[in-house]
Assembly symmetry: C2
DNA sequence: GCAGGCCGTATCGCTGTGCGATATGGATGT
DNA sequence: ACATCCATATCGCACAGCGATACGGCCTGC
């Protein structure tokens, strides 16, 4: 299998699974099957899908059959099981096309990319996580450099801290309490109080800095993006390499640019 | 509405809708609702979704309810209807993560981006169209520069012609016959024989060139990407601006690099 | 060789669920 | 004030989708 060829991202705190038994209807089952691939590292067989999705084998059989016909699932070229299908990208495109926030941020982000010369991202908050929605690489992109949809936790990323800093403090604390504070690297803080200290710092600074909290050798700067009502809906990131920058110079170089970019959105 | 703020892409030749009545089951209905957004240019109301998806209003009501709860659909922030939800990006990520072809092409494409300095893409064939699966922008990205999932027809794009050139000639002709040859710009060829001449040219050259066939001011070079069996599964593109290049210099500069990149994949 | 898995596929009733029909109240516009 | 569209809710019946089961092909191990 090709497990080894790709860097295994840390397990992502996936969105809140709506366990409400009311909503486990047939429509949801189709997506349960697709969601079976979230933790996968290669093609899945019918049996594996059934096990991972918690559905019966017969149900999976029928659902997979339909999904294949629709292009949402397909067989592995080497006939080793099933893989997500191309049609999924159509829906991702619709998301990007139609999201007003993305429309608002896209031009600003492109300008920021031009000004900084570094990788810039826009990520959107989904409860306890941030989902990367737009990305412009730098010249030397890392491996996973183009993968939209990657998600990271709020509590240990520059963008996440930036988002937390614009929530009411008790709400941020409650959010941390709901999070499972897993250390993603040696430098990840897992003590809620220490995290809140960084959040407070970010609140006064207007931005947050994170070094190697998810990816080794990477330094990132995050500024919150607010909606019309002043609620933080996501963050703009600037990411660089620690071989070229230290925290001080990175912040001095890019924090004003990033904050100006985010401020120019009209949300605050 | 925000119709105007984004460039309206030409209507995309979407994948073959499997009209097989056998497969219009409940699972498919969930995706029918999501697919209602493919042609949309803003939020959709329940009624609009019902009309576009061909489903009854009650069905749409229930399905939307479920999809909202699962994060695949959400209300427009300004309460003007429904929009695709963030969870869709999770599945798009799974597609990119798990597709062996993408894993194969990604490093090669990054290297090509470094060598050329221009925008490079990898697109995958889905019947009559190419779907952009990976994209690395140049310094000056265009507006839609980061939107994965965009699709373009085979018959009038550099990558599409490259793919056609590696199909058996009768198969390529049959494919053209099935396509609705819409002119996307003044320079789009719609005569099957003229198109086949370009395909033949691409077959001998090993690459194809297209100028402003989809986007004004853009020149693109496409080389086919083959699977282990020698079948064309997609294409690698290099795209530049006509203000900086003409067809001859563009081909001389990048065709060898692109062909070497595609050739280094092991497929042929 | 042959047994034992696990694979994907096919068939077939029963049951439970999702659909159609319908009603209501709130916005919006004229 | 009416008319129109919206989202939401309820309810009973038909039928679609699930569970159970069976079958043939392909490996792996002995």
């Amino acid at each position: 299998m090709n497990d080894i060829t790709r860097p295994v991202l840390p397990p992502v705190p996936i969105a809140p699974p709506p366990d409400d038994p009311l909503f486990v209807d047939a429509i949801a089952r189709g997506f349960q099957v697709l969601s079976a691939f979230h933790g996968a590292s290669g093609p899945l067989s019918l049996g594996e899908i059934a096990a991972r999705s918690g559905l019966g084998k017969s149900a999976v059989q029928r659902i997979v059959h339909t999904l294949r016909h629709q292009g949402y699932l397909r067989r592995d070229p080497r006939d080793r099981g099933y893989l997500p299908g191309l049609r999924l990208l159509d829906h991702a495109l619709d998301y990007q096309r139609l999201d007003p926030q993305i429309a608002r941020v896209l031009p600003v982000l492109m300008e920021l990319r031009r000004e900084t010369g570094e990788r810039v991202d826009f990520s959107l908050r989904d409860d306890l996580r941030l989902v990367y929605a737009l990305r412009f690489q730098s010249k030397r992109g890392f491996y996973s450099a183009s993968l939209i949809g990657t998600s990271v936790p709020l509590y240990c990323t520059a963008g996440g801290l930036a988002v937390l800093s614009r929530l009411p403090r008790p709400e941020a604390e409650a959010l941390l309490a709901r999070s499972s504070l897993v250390p993603y690297s040696q430098r990840t803080l897992t003590d809620p109080q220490a995290i809140m200290a960084r959040v407070d710092q970010a609140r006064t600074d207007g931005f947050a800095i994170a070094q190697e909290e998810i990816v080794a050798g990477e330094i990132a700067l995050g500024v919150p993006v607010l909606d019309e009502g002043g609620q933080p809906i996501g963050a703009i990131h600037v990411a660089g390499s620690l071989s070229e920058w230290d925290a001080g110079s990175f912040a001095r170089s890019f924090a004003p640019l990033a904050m100006t970019a985010a401020g120019g959105l009209g949300g605050g």
